[in-house]
């Protein structure tokens, strides 16, 4: 089995600088250590950097060394491929993000490989076959918990793992569970599968590709907190996922992995699927609970929090799909295993959906703390059409705008927050140089205005007024007065809105202004620097 791939730049310039000798040296050293069957060596035909040739890239770590002499090549095999130690002093220097080739400055101790916990079975097993799930470690964690662990131990393990909610806020999952345990009476486990942040479809993949993982996780949560009923609130648009969940529940019941006295224990647990009917706001947990009770999806006042008074007024744990998918492996492998991945403050992995101006779009799961530069270069295959990176937008519409300055910030909840950005739900919309920030903000605000539930005034009126101001700027009628008003309303809306939707709606404007103020100001003069907005079209016609 191939465990590593070594790529050596083989373009004419690299060859003229001795790439062939480097390749021979690497191959000789590999055979010296007897690694031929595990490591594949090949030429990279196209490298777009000329300053560090020849380069040597090693996957799956995604480390780039360069320039590499034949002696360095032999040393790399010895240290990196044989002993597993990255060699910092041979790392290629970082460069700006352009072109379609991955150049990564390596970091000591960092794991670059895509690490799958949550998505480890998606696409590997047949989601409609419970036996396939079981043969891939399925329901082992539940069996282990029921046979060997007290509910308190399950709770303590989750607490010790430091797992944080993956829906966007990053609240410690174990802590949330312990709030519910303290409450008397009947309790509920609710899974928030109302994935509707624009650009996020990670939960859909779990729901469609590995539905039993979610059921097992909910049963574990139920066992830990003392609940006997779980509800999955799934968005109305996810018809296939709903169908698969229902099928999975039926299969699990047949094998007594759900239902009464699971696996002969004293623990009984049932799961119901409830589909929504199209409302972004229902991703907010209290609005979700309202909708689950058959009402308009309007947020509730807090406190009391759902952990005290949630579904049907009872203490309720509401967890995101990705969060729950981490629970079975944590119970199975222990908290220490989980904490060995990611960062100190945010252990584990994060699933991202990468979109926009990158060569490869789609889902990627990486350890927490991986930087945006690494994600774009390694998994995104670099920027599309050689565009320069302008900004990224995280966490769907409620994420923040990340400028080039923050490309090297480790992506975890705390580090992002310290940099004034938000990790959000896991969407990564990568925008190249030809993206207009005003236009981007306009589209995001159009979404929020449409999805505002109308309950509170700051959000209902604020989103409309911000959209109006952005529309004027886009069309070229806007003035400095509009820009000032936009900024003012953005702050009021953020401060005064009732729930997360209204508090998040102005964030693209606030962060956009923080990093790209000149671009907004250009629009007050009727100029769109990227030529995207309608105002620039008018100009062209005029001349």
């Amino acid at each position: 089995m191939i465990r590593a791939r070594v790529l050596i730049s083989g373009d004419p310039l690299s060859l003229s600088r001795g790439a062939e000798k480097t390749k021979l040296a690497i191959e000789a050293e590999i055979s010296y250590y007897g690694l031929e069957d595990e490591i594949q060596v090949s030429y990279l035909t196209h490298a777009d950097r000329t300053d560090i040739l020849p380069i040597v890239m090693i996957y799956p770590e995604g480390v780039t060394y360069g320039p590499v002499t034949p002696e360095d090549g032999a040393y790399i095999v010895q240290e990196h491929l044989y002993k597993g130690r990255v060699i910092e002093h041979l790392f290629a220097p970082p460069e700006v993000l352009t072109g379609d080739i991955a150049h990564i400055p390596g970091r000591k101790g960092a794991t670059y490989a895509q690490k799958r916990i949550v998505l480890r079975r998606a696409g590997v097993i047949n989601p409609l076959d419970i036996e396939d799930y079981i043969t891939h470690d399925g329901y082992f964690a539940l069996a282990k918990a029921l046979e060997e662990m007290q509910p308190e131990e399950v709770l303590e393990t989750v607490k010790a793992s430091k797992l944080q909610g993956r829906g966007g806020a990053g609240f410690p999952t174990g802590l949330k569970w312990s709030f519910v345990v303290q409450q008397p009476g009947e309790k509920y486990v609710v899974c928030n599968a109302d994935e509707s942040e624009p650009g996020t479809f990670k939960d859909r993949l779990i729901l469609e590709g590995d539905p039993h993982a979610l059921l097992e996780a909910m049963a574990l949560a139920g066992y830990a907190i003392g609940a006997h009923e779980g509800w999955i609130y799934i968005r109305g648009e996810y018809a296939l996922a709903k169908e698969r969940l229902n099928k999975a529940i039926q299969q699990a019941k047949e094998l007594n992995l759900l239902g009464d006295h699971i696996l002969g224990s004293d623990f009984s647990f049932d799961i119901h699927v409830h589909a929504g009917a199209g409302a972004y706001i229902c991703g907010e947990e209290t609005a979700l609970l309202e909708s689950l009770e058959g009402k308009r999806g309007i947020p509730r006042i807090r406190p009391p929090y759902p952990t005290v008074a949630g579904f049907r007024g009872k203490p309720t744990v509401v967890n995101n799909v990705e969060t729950l998918a981490n629970i079975p492996p944590i119970i199975q492998n222990g908290a220490d295993w989980f904490r060995s991945m990611g960062t100190e403050r945010s252990p584990g992995t994060k699933v991202y959906t990468m979109l926009g101006d990158v060569n490869i779009t789609g889902l990627v799961e990486t350890p927490m703390g991986t930087t945006l530069r690494e994600i774009i270069n390694i998994y995104g295959g670099g920027m599309k059409d050689g565009k320069a990176f302008k900004c990224a937008q995280t966490g769907g519409a409620s994420g923040s705008i990340i400028p080039p300055e923050l490309l090297d910030v480790p992506m975890d909840f705390a580090s992002m927050a310290e940099s004034g950005a938000a990790l959000g739900s896991g969407a990564l919309l990568i925008a190249g140089e030809d993206t207009c920030i005003v236009d981007l903000a306009y589209v995001l605000l159009r979404f929020f205005k449409a999805e505002s539930c109308g309950k509170c005034t700051p959000c209902r009126i604020g989103t409309a007024q911000m959209l109006e101001a952005l529309e004027r700027l886009r069309m070229g009628y806007g003035t400095q007065v509009d820009l000032d008003r936009l900024e003012e309303i953005a702050h009021y809306t953020k401060e005064a809105s009732f729930c997360g939707l209204g508090q998040a709606a102005p964030v693209p404007i606030i962060t956009g202004l923080r990093y790209f103020r000149e671009e907004f100001e250009a629009h007050t003069r009727g100029e769109c620097p990227t030529g995207v907005c309608p105002c620039s079209v008018k100009q062209k016609v005029k001349h």
Partner: protein, 161 residues
């Protein structure tokens, strides 16, 4: 017509029961069967679930997958979110309006097409994306929009759809 309406409604209610908690699901499923929910539908549901009709109306009008107005023969739901927008959605948006001769949110006078927007449908990797009825079409361009709509029109003429 009324008998059919009552039958449709009762079938859905039979599946979910008459607990008020099931209201959203009942409305959504019935909408799918009936195409849209008429005032008669809403009134009947209110009676069966023993709820004020104002409450049933308020819930029905809240959710985007529940229509309280009749729509065209085909319903286009175009994703208006940022990922689709930056992937060329703006041009496709304009092409759709031009092609059908109506702005978003409206139905053509011949009642063949309704042009609506939708928020993210989770197919962002192939954006821009639209749904026509239950079919998803991705990687759209203005030319492709023309092609797809022409196919539907021709199929309708031939009576195939």
């Amino acid at each position: 017509m009324d008998a059919q309406l009552a039958q449709q409604t009762d079938e859905v209610i039979k599946h979910y029961g008459t607990d008020a908690e099931a209201l959203v699901e009942i409305l959504r499923d019935l909408n799918q069967i009936a195409g849209h929910l008429s005032p008669e539908h809403l009134l009947l549901i209110a009676q069966r679930l023993n709820l004020p009709s104002s409450k049933v109306y308020s819930v029905a009008s809240f959710y985007s997958l529940i229509n309280i107005k009749p729509l065209g023969r085909h319903v286009i739901r175009f994703c208006e979110d940022a990922p689709c927008h930056v992937a060329g959605g703006r041009e496709v948006w304009e092409a759709l309006e031009q092609e059908l001769g109506i702005p978003f949110g409206e139905t053509t006078p011949d009642r063949q097409w309704s042009l609506l927007t939708t928020s993210c449908i989770g197919a962002c990797a192939v954006g821009p994306v639209m749904m026509i009825d239950d079919e998803i079409y991705g990687n759209l361009t203005p030319e492709k929009v023309h092609e797809i709509l022409t196919q539907y029109r021709e199929a309708d003429k031939g009576g195939a759809v």
